[in-house]
Symmetry: D2
Amino acid sequence: MTEERIPVAVLGATGYIGQEFVRLLADHPRFDLQVLGGTARRRGSRLEDLWHLADPPPEALARRPVETVGPSALRRRGIRAIFSALPSGIAGPIESELSRQGMAVFSNAADHRMDPEIPLLIPEVNADHLGLADRRPRGRGLLVANANCSTTGLVLALAPVKELLAPRTIQVTTYQALSGAGLPGVPSLAITDNVIPYIPEEEEKIERETARILGRRRGGRIGPWPCRVLAQCARVGTREGHLLAVTVEATQRPPRAELERAWSHFDPLRAERLPTAPSPPILLRREADRPQPLRDRWAGSPRRAQGMAAVVGRIRWDPPFLRFFTLTHNAVRGGAGGSVLNAELVDRRGIELTAGRGRD
Amino acid sequence: MTEERIPVAVLGATGYIGQEFVRLLADHPRFDLQVLGGTARRRGSRLEDLWHLADPPPEALARRPVETVGPSALRRRGIRAIFSALPSGIAGPIESELSRQGMAVFSNAADHRMDPEIPLLIPEVNADHLGLADRRPRGRGLLVANANCSTTGLVLALAPVKELLAPRTIQVTTYQALSGAGLPGVPSLAITDNVIPYIPEEEEKIERETARILGRRRGGRIGPWPCRVLAQCARVGTREGHLLAVTVEATQRPPRAELERAWSHFDPLRAERLPTAPSPPILLRREADRPQPLRDRWAGSPRRAQGMAAVVGRIRWDPPFLRFFTLTHNAVRGGAGGSVLNAELVDRRGIELTAGRGRD
Amino acid sequence: MTEERIPVAVLGATGYIGQEFVRLLADHPRFDLQVLGGTARRRGSRLEDLWHLADPPPEALARRPVETVGPSALRRRGIRAIFSALPSGIAGPIESELSRQGMAVFSNAADHRMDPEIPLLIPEVNADHLGLADRRPRGRGLLVANANCSTTGLVLALAPVKELLAPRTIQVTTYQALSGAGLPGVPSLAITDNVIPYIPEEEEKIERETARILGRRRGGRIGPWPCRVLAQCARVGTREGHLLAVTVEATQRPPRAELERAWSHFDPLRAERLPTAPSPPILLRREADRPQPLRDRWAGSPRRAQGMAAVVGRIRWDPPFLRFFTLTHNAVRGGAGGSVLNAELVDRRGIELTAGRGRD
Amino acid sequence: MTEERIPVAVLGATGYIGQEFVRLLADHPRFDLQVLGGTARRRGSRLEDLWHLADPPPEALARRPVETVGPSALRRRGIRAIFSALPSGIAGPIESELSRQGMAVFSNAADHRMDPEIPLLIPEVNADHLGLADRRPRGRGLLVANANCSTTGLVLALAPVKELLAPRTIQVTTYQALSGAGLPGVPSLAITDNVIPYIPEEEEKIERETARILGRRRGGRIGPWPCRVLAQCARVGTREGHLLAVTVEATQRPPRAELERAWSHFDPLRAERLPTAPSPPILLRREADRPQPLRDRWAGSPRRAQGMAAVVGRIRWDPPFLRFFTLTHNAVRGGAGGSVLNAELVDRRGIELTAGRGRD
């Protein structure tokens, strides 16, 4: 790890996740945000004039213009890593090209999440999956995907207890926030006084991504996780924070205290002190009515990790069935924050941003 | 069935369910609503001054005063049947006394739902459970309970397919509307931009009531339904209409078309033409994003049965797992309308309102 | 008035106001809705697949396809009158061409509202302004505009009392519903837990349209109404129903009872019994907390006129200042219903749809 | 000003405003929060178990028990100043008794706001009104009221421009947040998809308090402010932040630039550097659509003063009419924060908390 901060860009900086990236990177100890990338339509506008989050934009960046800049130009300007908030569908080829040109890409898009050689990474859960990228060609930039916003919350909550339970099936039903749909997103007339029991592709993403992240790596491959995941997803009228109702059918029957201990003590990254890592990453609430989006979305400490913790509550262990609710901030932990944490892990562990260039 | 309308009262007429009773009974072909019962605090106030529903009160009753009137007075005034919207906890002993004094009680309260001799009735599903009341003592009024608002939606959706599927387990996760909590109910500061993953006693009610209603009657007893029901309940910020996400693990594998046919053709009461019975009681929606509370809460025809149908959609049959969403109006089908339909069934079938008095 | 129904089309039938037109015209006694016009992108889709209103589409039209059809084709198909829900900006030239080709146009768009020869019409208020169209060229179709959704509510409430008060200034502040912005309209992330104190062009429309509608016609011209109108407009998170807070500074001081009588007795169209005319058009509420969007948006009788009445309440007369709140359904009275009523008035009074063709 | 922190108590610590007091005083440089007062029903409960705000309780106080403690006990425990979040109606006599026993009271209740000898204080506006308390009897504690939540926003926005405009009338229409009603407050069924155009006593408070605060003190009396204030108040479904639409009819016609300068440069307390004082207290926004509750409620710097600034926007100066919108956080600037700032001013200026005791 060098002393100097790494020059980075955010692509898609005018969208909801893009602006969370900007917020999280504004004064980051390791990354130096130099480029705010946006579409030609937005080019030249100042960040503050396009700002969509409720809280104001970071002062240092508020007047920074949005730029429309391709891979070559980014490389010429010395950008070493990209945080991609590009829309799924558009992101894939651009991210591939960025990687070919030697830049590391930390992506929030779905396009590469199931590529066999791409780590689909949640640092606390499957840091060893980073090894999938070991054999990429010389000169190629590292490409790391974060998980879908709902998947992230589910996997974080399951990780500490999955060995204890050896689940046979997992049912997950979601109460997803409006910001999960980005901007302009859900029309107010569609959701006011309503719930929409459908989010395109979401259930499939949860099912396949969970299986991949919780699968075991053997060399360059991920072995399938032997548990059936069944998802039902709905949009509700909250601003931020995806709430999940989970039912696990287990094949083992550990005591309840052991489950709670597993959750409470889970903190595999503690020693690495990543700037954006919540410690602990999972908070158990014992009240009858938590977690709630309004009250738990910003969980996580230290301050830089607010919105990065998963909050688990209403645990009922009625073997073989374990039920609980879990909540994570979809745009922070389940979006921009997930990729920032991925990049911090890569940086801390000294993994090469560009293959074959030696230590970064 | 006599020609004359049966004199009835609504108790708890100032609450949310009570006012749905009033709305449904205002011009009912078989029941003549003569008394609006309320607490002493409300006594003398006119219905319109206490009206809480969004639509205006029925014109004919708007200026009718709320009365505070006990069982004996109700009997003296010739009331033959009571629709009880009394709060659970308070309802039990009053309903028992009304029955002892010979009046029939159709109750929305939870207090008597698990009493072995009380039918917990959804007419399309377990009309034969009415037989539980056959052996009540001479002079005793019939007491029939409707099911919990969420239970009603779940059971209606399951009834047509349960024989085809022979479920092993059923997972149900709810998105429950504000009106389910009655009045004053959920504070706006608790629910605005929020979801509350807890509704006291709700999960237990769903689990035990579903098992009872779907159980088989053998003489005076209900045999247990051999399927595990697991519920997780949450309050969302919609006004009306409880949405349920259901996952069934089946032990049989009928073709999908057969399941859809079972749902579509389900209409066991068609021939009886009960005034408030929706025909058909279940509507299948094939759109990607239905049912929705806003758009489907008032489903059901004829006009008097609006809000009485269950709407089923997003069916995925991936054996052994069947997933779907279902929606019912909690305060109509899952509340007042459920009891009105129960009373209509009793009336149509000529069951005695008061035991041993001969045909009513 | 002939016995046969007049063949009509709705243009912009896939938008929010367009669908209110469809709903109101579905079984209209005088108009026969034959064409649902929409953009090429929607052509061929069935109405029910594009339906946006919470209540289901009229059964008779649900499977009717949307057509993309120009003025000449409309004329060839015998369409005599057009209800235009085209977006302002696009509507102007199309409506002019329709008129040139001899079809009457009843428009919800803003484009022609200030044209000197076009009646900007609210039947109860300025029916005599229809005379502006008397001198249009032979063969030209009648073109009548309805007022902006907020203007309509303000003018209806002022009409009965303006002579009594002779206002010097009028301040109006609005609480406007989401549906006023049409579809897709306001993003949910923009308005959830928020108020937006800006609606483009709205304040200007209220100020100039009010002055025009309340102005006096002298032959072919409207004299200016000598009162300053000052508007401040904001969007709130309600679905339907624009609420207005009004303060009038009067130059006369009638007794309060006279003001109330003026409002209550106002019903200038009673004798004409237009199908969609509310009778009375203004409802006074005496409760402390009315009118409310949720409870008063559908005010108006008979049944066909639901959503057509203005509800006035919280009247405080503290001379020279009169304060009150008023509410009207923006998409019904302030939108589609306004134009339907305009057309009904034209039809009832035997005004020629096409100039110089003799009685229609 | 002594070095030691002053021992203080919050009464009504379990309500919404009470908890804002707790949040603002948790680590205050001048006040040492020693007692959380609540009703007997709450006694002994820990603060965190009664916590209602979305963000978590201050860590240092989370496990502090709520106490039920009267004036004498507070005095015996050495409490010198009370922050009163007691409900209006109940607050009056208790606050009087606290004052009689020598404790200073900074009250959020309405009870004493119009008492001639009680300063109704907004430090940036009428700090000189503190002189009203000069002649209180020896031994009597200082009693200072803050203004109603809407009044505060109106007065702050008017203060810098009132001399320039010399208003003849002021119309104010409000969009008030749910938290203004405290807890449990507005039922969700009353406000979801609704606006309620009535808040008991609110309009009267705005009118009389504005006149008092902007009036001129002459010795022990406040001369009336010669301008008519007319308010219309409504509750909307936002969580926090009261938005006001204001129309001023002026008798003078300064250039617009002068008005803007007056607002921008307004910062009468800058030199005193009170911990909770926003500097500047008024923020002008030039965007078309600001201020908004969601985005501007937490305006104010430094950090401790977040939620203490008034945000003014959509200024239109069309002489003699000035229109603008203004927003303040009702529970912070318009509630607890107002009283904390009052106390800071008293402390900084060395005004005696207890009359005749010499410098505090």
